[in-house]
Structures are given as structure tokens and as C-alpha cells.
Amino acid sequence: MSDAQILGEFEHIVLLAILRLGDKAYGVTIRNEIKERTGREPAPGALYTTLDRLEDKSLLTSTMGDPTPERGGRAKRYVRVSARGMEAVNHARQCYLRMWEGLPFPGVAYG
């Protein structure tokens, strides 16, 4: 696992949101998905910078959709998690699971 594939917390959340959205993942839907699931709206600067960084690290791929009138004729940039991105998400999940394993938290029930 290279350094480029080690995810920060927000990168991890963004990748999971993209995976949940499937073919419908672009800026607006990703922001809404994160807001709905985590209860906090990501800062626009953070979201777009993170998407660009993930694409630069080849953890994402993007394709341009068709321009639409409600967007002033601008195309949506749809993103998908690449094979390297999937590896990175799986690695992050394994790390979290190992860190949680055996931790006793009184009053918290584990499902």
C-alpha cells in the first residue's frame, strides 16, 4: 500500500459516498449524501479539492455528462471509484476494524 493510497478521514467519507451513489455521483449528490449520512455539510472547498486530489491519485475516474439548462449549460462531472480506490477503501476499512477490535466502551452496544 503506497502513501497515495492511505486515506484521510474526509477522503474515506467521500469515497464511501461515491460508492453508495453508484452512477449518480457528482458534486451535488455527493455533498447531499455526506450531509444525510453524517449530519454535517462538507465545505465546498474541501469537497472539490478532495475530489481533484483523489482523481490525481488515480483513486477516482471522472467523466463529463451532458450540459443541462438548470446548470447554465454546464456539464456534470460524474465520478467513479477506480480499482485503486477500492483497494484504498478496503485497506482503510481493515485498519478501522483492527483498531476497534476488542475496545470496551461501557454503554455502547456493538451490532
Binding site: Y26, G27, V28, R31, A43, P44, G45, A46, Y48, T49, D52, R53, M64, P67, T68, E70, R71, G72, R74, A75, K76, R77
Partner: protein
């Protein structure tokens, strides 16, 4: 020009044109509900965030651009100053002309033509050296020049050289218009290169 186009041009300074257009399109979807303050906040926060990301993401490149830009900017300026000094020392007629009241022409030529042209050319050089993070490259050079000014003034002050009051503040304030010309050169070249590849 409508606000979306202006926003797109601002963002295109720090993102590729298609990424800038799609981000602005995303905010246009919600702009009617959330209002113009939210829209412009998205534009500027994204631009600032991207510049910071470029600075922090490639520190070696930024340090290299900052230092080589500083040398490129200052060496010819100091060279010109030294040349003028040598000429005035060795050519009494020139020295007389400079101090007789017509010397302002040289000052005007320097401040209005030569310096802006050189700053603009340096901006173009930044855009060629750091074609993606142009704004970050300009900030790196501005930062390097500010540090240099600070070090020179503090060294002179420590050595007992009498400096007029507010020298440092004036030196740093002068950089604002200089950096704007520098940035204009970088933006000009970036837009030309993006336009030619689009």
C-alpha cells in the same frame, strides 16, 4: 457577463476549465434556493482551498518556484541598478543630467515601463514553470520577495544603517501592485495555453 461566467473564470485560475465549469454548474443548481452569498462563498472558499492544496501538495516545487522566481525577479533589477551606478560614476555628464531635473524621465521609464514589463514577463515564466498551480506559484514568489525584503531591512537596521520611518511597511505595500502585475502575466499565459489546448 453573468455571475456564473465570472465565477468560472475565477476558478479556472486554480482548476482546469472543465473542472471549474462543472463545479460552478453544481452550485448553479442550488444558487436560487441558497442565494448569492452562498454561491460566492463556494467560489472563493474553493479557490482558496485549491491554492492552499497546491502550496501544501507540492512544497518542493513551490520552494523552487519561489526561490528561482526571486532570483529571476531581483537579479536583473539589481543588475540594472549597479549598471546605472557605474555609468553615473564614470560619466559625469550622465550624472549631471540625472540630478539636474531631467532624471525623472529615467524614474518614469523605470516605474511605468521597464519594471511592469519585467514583472509581467516573470508572471509568464511562473505559468510556464508551474502550469497547473499558477496562483500558488505567484504566492510562493510574493512570499519569497516579502521574506527577502524583511531580511534585507532588518539586516540594514541591525548594522546601524539609518532607514526612513515605515521603510519596511512601504516596501511590503509596494509589492501589492507589483504582485498584481506578476499575477496578470501568469493569468495571461495560463489562459493563452488553456485556450490553445481547448
Amino acid at each position: 457577463m453573468d455571475k456564473a461566467r465570472i465565477a468560472e473564470r475565477i476558478l479556472a485560475l486554480v482548476l482546469s476549465p472543465d473542472r471549474a465549469a462543472s463545479a460552478v454548474g453544481d452550485w448553479m443548481e442550488d444558487a436560487d434556493v441558497r442565494g448569492p452569498v452562498w454561491f460566492w462563498s463556494c467560489v472563493f472558499r474553493t479557490a482558496i482551498s485549491q491554492v492552499w492544496s497546491d502550496l501544501a501538495g507540492s512544497p518542493r516545487l513551490m520552494v523552487r518556484v519561489g526561490l528561482t522566481g526571486l532570483c529571476r525577479l531581483l537579479l536583473p533589477l539589481y543588475g540594472f541598478g549597479c549598471l546605472l551606478d557605474v555609468l553615473m560614476t564614470n560619466l559625469p555628464a550622465l550624472r549631471h543630467w540625472m540630478w539636474s531635473g531631467d532624471g525623472w524621465r529615467v524614474t518614469v521609464l523605470w516605474n511605468v515601463v521597464l519594471l511592469p514589463v519585467w514583472l509581467f514577463q516573470t508572471g509568464r515564466w511562473i505559468a510556464q514553470r508551474a502550469p497547473g498551480p499558477v496562483a500558488a506559484g505567484c504566492i510562493a514568489i510574493a512570499f519569497a520577495v516579502s521574506i527577502f525584503t524583511l531580511v534585507v531591512d532588518v539586516s540594514m537596521w541591525s548594522a546601524g544603517v539609518h532607514l526612513p520611518p515605515y521603510t519596511l511597511a512601504k516596501g511590503l505595500a509596494t509589492q501589492i501592485p507589483c504582485n498584481m502585475v506578476l499575477f496578470a502575466g501568469a493569468v495571461w499565459t495560463r489562459r493563452s495555453s488553456v485556450g490553445s489546448t481547448a
